[in-house]
């Protein structure tokens, strides 16, 4: 053990360990001048889009197209950075200081929070862009194992004993809140349905939920990769994407008799763009989502487009579905949030009971 050879080995080991450290310092040192020279030549403009979980592929495509468009019309380079996570969690991060130029979140309530808690955007944010500032819509569908072995056709089937339902945590995930409200709305519209029967139905539904992920993408991974659960309550776009990514032989999509119209809103974060001087760019970026080209990218990434012409082109991908809206059935997001998802709301009452 104490032979000169072992001593030499240990010494060279020590040298290489410190070498690694030195090497990393050098690497870091090298990266700096590169960044500086790049900014000196073109002064690239950056934009940060803070979005919710399932929009990764959508905005990757949008960013590429928009950057090309911006370069063609203004001659300026633009780099759009992305951050993704559960919608509620992302809103919280923006409130805590994440420098988002634009927020593209899963539901209106999270933008209301940006206004209420930190006055980052004005109260009338929803009317600044067409269609309630939601350039695309989606809805909630069921993703089941191939061949639908448990024969799950509608919301009522989900509360059967032995059925495992996968849905994320409505406290942190926008998609999960849509799931919750869609289930509630279905129960409400059943014969003799009222708030009490709806609450009882949702209670029984959540008794079949074995695990609550923090975001929609995490729930998809739980269901698809880890093979947990019989049915995933998913965004339609997420379900279509999962089917495309994983092949048609693994999962089926089931459309329930009734679902909810989800309008994921977008906004410029005024306090950030005014500080960074990026308002013009940020507004152009959001306007791009409403153009024919933007709408085409949206439909191509499995979100329902607003533009009638593009919608007609992709009609086979988006079968008509009976949809309730948050305003008609729940009196708007602020009311829905207070009733169902705030501390002590209906979700707290049923979950953990």
């Amino acid at each position: 053990m104490n032979s000169p050879a072992a001593r030499r080995a240990a010494a060279s080991l020590a040298a290489s360990a410190f070498g690694t450290l030195l090497g990393s310092l050098v690497l870091v040192g090298c990266s700096k001048p590169a960044a500086v020279s790049a900014s000196a030549s073109a002064r690239p403009v950056t934009l940060l889009n803070v979005s919710y979980d399932p929009t990764r592929e959508l905005y990757e495509a949008v960013n590429k197209a928009f950057a090309a468009e911006w370069l063609a019309t203004t001659g300026a380079q633009v780099t759009i950075n992305q951050s993704h996570g559960g919608s509620g969690k992302q809103a919280r991060a923006i409130i805590d200081g994440l420098q988002a130029d634009v927020a593209t979140l899963g539901l209106a309530y999270d933008l209301i929070e940006l206004n209420r808690r930190a006055q980052l955007i004005p109260p009338d944010w929803a009317t600044r862009l067409p269609n309630n500032s939601a350039p695309y819509t989606s809805t909630i569908v069921f993703l089941v194992r191939k061949g639908n072995p448990k024969n799950l056709r509608d919301w009522g089937d989900l509360i059967r004993p032995g059925v495992q339902v996968i849905t994320p945590n409505p406290k942190s995930s926008g998609g999960a809140r849509w799931n919750y409200l869609a289930a509630w709305a279905w129960a409400l519209k059943q014969p003799g349905g009222d708030d009490a029967t709806a609450k009882d139905f949702v209670h029984r539904l959540y008794k079949n939920v074995p695990v609550l992920d923090s975001g929609a993408r995490g729930a998809t991974v739980t269901f698809v990769d880890r093979g947990i659960g019989d049915v995933l309550l998913a965004w339609e776009n997420e379900a279509l994407l999962a089917r495309q990514q994983l092949g048609l032989d693994k999962i089926d999509i089931v459309l329930p008799s009734l679902s909810i119209l989800a309008e994921p809103p977008v906004t410029v974060v005024d306090k950030v763009v005014d500080r960074r001087g990026t308002r013009k760019l940020a507004e152009a970026y959001l306007a791009f989502l409403y153009t024919k080209q933007g709408q085409e990218i949206i439909a191509h990434n499995f979100y329902r487009p607003r533009d009638a012409e593009i919608a007609a082109k992709y009609a086979s991908q988006f079968p008509p579905l009976k949809l309730v809206t948050i305003d008609d059935t729940f009196g708007g997001w602020e009311k829905a949030q207070a009733t169902h998802f705030d501390d002590g709301g209906s979700f707290d009452q049923i979950y953990g009971q």
């Binding site: 360990a17 990393s24 200081g97 994440l98 999962a242």
Partner: protein, 281 residues
């Protein structure tokens, strides 16, 4: 009679050994193999492509940068704290020891959240920082801070017992022979602790590169900007990009393996570093 007793004893030994081996193979070795199998699932070409992806490179750079700042910081702090605790008597010594242990005791999520509470836009210093254009949370400084916090104990905890057993006789002798404080440290103390120090640095480095929880809270997850390698891996995995995720994971695993091999060789050379004197990591 004697033979009869020996055989069951040997059987017991092999049974124990078998259980330990099975356990390690199933829980540690197999997953490690899976990482590399998945990483090379589509051939070496897509493996290399995945690693040369600009976001992957940015994540590696950030992880190395973080380690390069955090490890020297904790090295200096660890030596200073261990020195003070092992060689001097002072009031509040136990408080200091407990404080050094604190990062081991709290969940990494809390380690991240405390910095959001301090430096976030709604936090104590957030509004002032924002007004002056200083970004800590959701930027590189926040990641470095959170990682530093999580890795504070490694070097100090490694050195304290080592320095305590060595006592200060040699240092006192050096001082009485006219050596300066710096000479004493360099020529007497440092040679005595160098292996323990290196061991602590290796552990600290491994954790600094691998930390997920605390960094996840303060990162903001901006691709190419504030994603460290562990965060990048999670993102790729949730995008169904398994080759990319496991290629990046293989880099982290390789870093960990290098650290482990270094640690093993060190232990072989210096048996006194083995478990028992090591920190409660």
């Amino acid at each position: 009679m004697i033979r009869g007793q020996q055989i069951p004893e040997e059987l017991g030994r092999y049974a124990l050994l078998g259980v330990a081996l099975l356990y390690l193979v199933g829980l540690v070795a197999m997953p490690l193999v899976v990482v590399f199998v998945e990483a090379f699932a589509n051939g070496i070409g897509s493996y290399v492509r995945a690693l040369l992806d600009p976001y992957a490179l940015a994540a590696m750079r950030l992880t190395l940068l973080t380690a390069a700042v955090v490890v020297p910081l904790n090295l200096v702090f660890g030596v200073a704290a261990a020195w003070a605790i092992a060689k001097f008597e002072f009031r509040g010594k136990n408080v200091l020891i407990t404080t050094i242990d604190l990062p081991f005791a709290v969940s990494p999520v809390i380690s991240g959240l405390i910095y959001v509470l301090m430096f976030g836009a709604q936090g104590w210093f957030g509004p002032w920082l924002l007004a002056h254009g200083v970004h800590i949370i959701f930027a590189v400084p926040g990641i470095v801070l959170a990682t530093t916090f999580v890795t504070v104990p490694f070097v100090a905890r490694e050195l304290i017992p080592l320095m305590q057993t060595q006592g200060n006789d040699e240092e006192l002798t050096a001082l009485s022979l006219g050596a300066s404080g710096w000479q004493t440290f360099r020529l007497v103390t440092l040679p005595n602790i160098r292996w323990g120090l290196l061991y602590g640095v290796l552990l600290c480095n491994a954790r600094a590169m691998g930390e997920f929880g605390a960094v996840s809270v303060v990162s903001g997850h901006i691709r190419g900007q504030t994603n460290t390698l562990p965060l990048h891996i999670e993102i790729l995995h949730s995008e169904y990009n398994y080759v990319g995720a496991f290629a990046s994971a293989s880099i982290l695993a390789l870093l960990a393996l290098v650290t482990l091999v270094a640690k093993t060789l060190l232990e072989r050379r210096h048996p006194e570093l083995r478990a028992g004197v090591t920190p409660r990591a």
